[in-house]
Symmetry: C2
Subunit: 313 residues, 2 copies
Amino acid sequence: MSGKVLALCGGVGGAKLALGLAHIVPPEDLTVVVNTGDDFTHLGLRICPDIDTVTYTLSGLANKELGWGREDESWDFMEALRALGGEDWFNLGDRDLAIHVERTGRLAKGEKLSDITADFAKRLGIEPAIIPMTNDQVATIVDTEEGELAFQHYFVRDRCEPVVKKVRFAGAGDAKPCKAFQTALQDPDLAAIVICPSNPLLSVDPILALPGLRKMLEGHRVPVIAVSPIVGGKAIKGPTAKMMAELGHDVSAAGIVAHYGNLLDGFIVDQQDAEIAGSLPVATHVTNTVMRTLEDRTDLARAALDFTRMLKR
Amino acid sequence: MSGKVLALCGGVGGAKLALGLAHIVPPEDLTVVVNTGDDFTHLGLRICPDIDTVTYTLSGLANKELGWGREDESWDFMEALRALGGEDWFNLGDRDLAIHVERTGRLAKGEKLSDITADFAKRLGIEPAIIPMTNDQVATIVDTEEGELAFQHYFVRDRCEPVVKKVRFAGAGDAKPCKAFQTALQDPDLAAIVICPSNPLLSVDPILALPGLRKMLEGHRVPVIAVSPIVGGKAIKGPTAKMMAELGHDVSAAGIVAHYGNLLDGFIVDQQDAEIAGSLPVATHVTNTVMRTLEDRTDLARAALDFTRMLKR
């Protein structure tokens, strides 16, 4: 594959494909734009869960068991915090804390989130560019039958239990895509845009909600493909399926295609969904999308890029 | 000993005597007022080294080897912070971090330092009152031959190496003693005021620099005593001796008496300094002041209170 690749992603599932891409695309040719709608301030610390998951995944520091945070983590801080009466519904590992504390300190000094993210990535030995979708604050708000909830309260504290009525992205209308994101989109060498298998409602929609972004992708000269986060009617991880059902979407690969609409030039479904591939209103490639091993990740990344080469706009 | 006791102290040495007092004075009768001049904001966290040392010491959590921080501490945060390029000259243990993060969060929500300190103490099972000298910001600034340094930069980062020309307490002139400190001073049941063996220049002077405080102590109806932090011409710990010499003080128990002046009704020197006891211009008691064991601490506390009973104003 020649040409540059722009990946849009959220946390866990998206980060897995980003890692696959990082193994097969020359680092200077890969840009990973990450959702920041999940970001929040907790205990005075600015926490960017998706950026951190991507950073830890690409640097090899990710905790593969938990699916978030760092491996070889210790939890002494949380234990001491609990003893002091601190809020303990959001687990922060001792090592993981460093990224939140250091980021918060640098933001307070006026550094941009994008510069901080790039510096952390460099220090952790990551070569591809990791870019927050925006340096402005966008907050995913989940309107539930129990009222509006800040995203992490819905997601972590309340374990996605409240029934969702609507999702909105506060601040997205006034947020500017990061400069490096804009540059990547306009790069004449860009050859493919890959929407990673992240939750479309929570992880990809905030990116698409940035002013002009969806239109820009719809009209882009390079193919835009997505990898389905739904396999056999279920989400690999997280609340994607439950939320889609609550919001009236068809909980299937077809429902994902319907959600992205005319944004997509191509779609990748898992082999478990092979029978519906022919009925989707978009060019579809069937392969294994369940990424258990590093080989699964690189195989899927290679399949995605091979697929985009066959697509023309 | 009947009657209430008010102890003024800084960190390590002072905290040891405070612990001794806590073992022999009924908890409702003991108030420990702590220096906050060393407090600073680091990595966005509000750190109160003396309050924390007293809190950890009275709750049995103090790291006896290090003389600061918590026992059974882990250092994963610092290692991760270093990898991200964070400032690493001030060591923050994983458990210790909890007190700084939780305090910073509560201060940001508008809670008072005195309320936060009291709540932490209660949660850690401490019964005597631990009170910050003030809720207002006072910052010890050390003027050295290399220029003015914020206290922790002088103390920790530069290891007290620069030669000191002057010490000042920025903000002290506008700071109000905490209400509980004022109440303790005016309590009709108060029977003794004990200045713990902390560094007079760094740990006690900030307290005395609060408006009206020194005058109030000088004219107080109850005896004010101090325990010498200098033994045999040397400080037990820290830069007291070096600083006293640089600032032209006599580095001896006599120099401490001269520094406190007419504030004192009584003074306790170590048995190593027994020969100079008779020559001091204040009532003097000789005993062991080097506190290695818990018994040393309670013995010294008992000696201090017995001594005040014999003093009349």
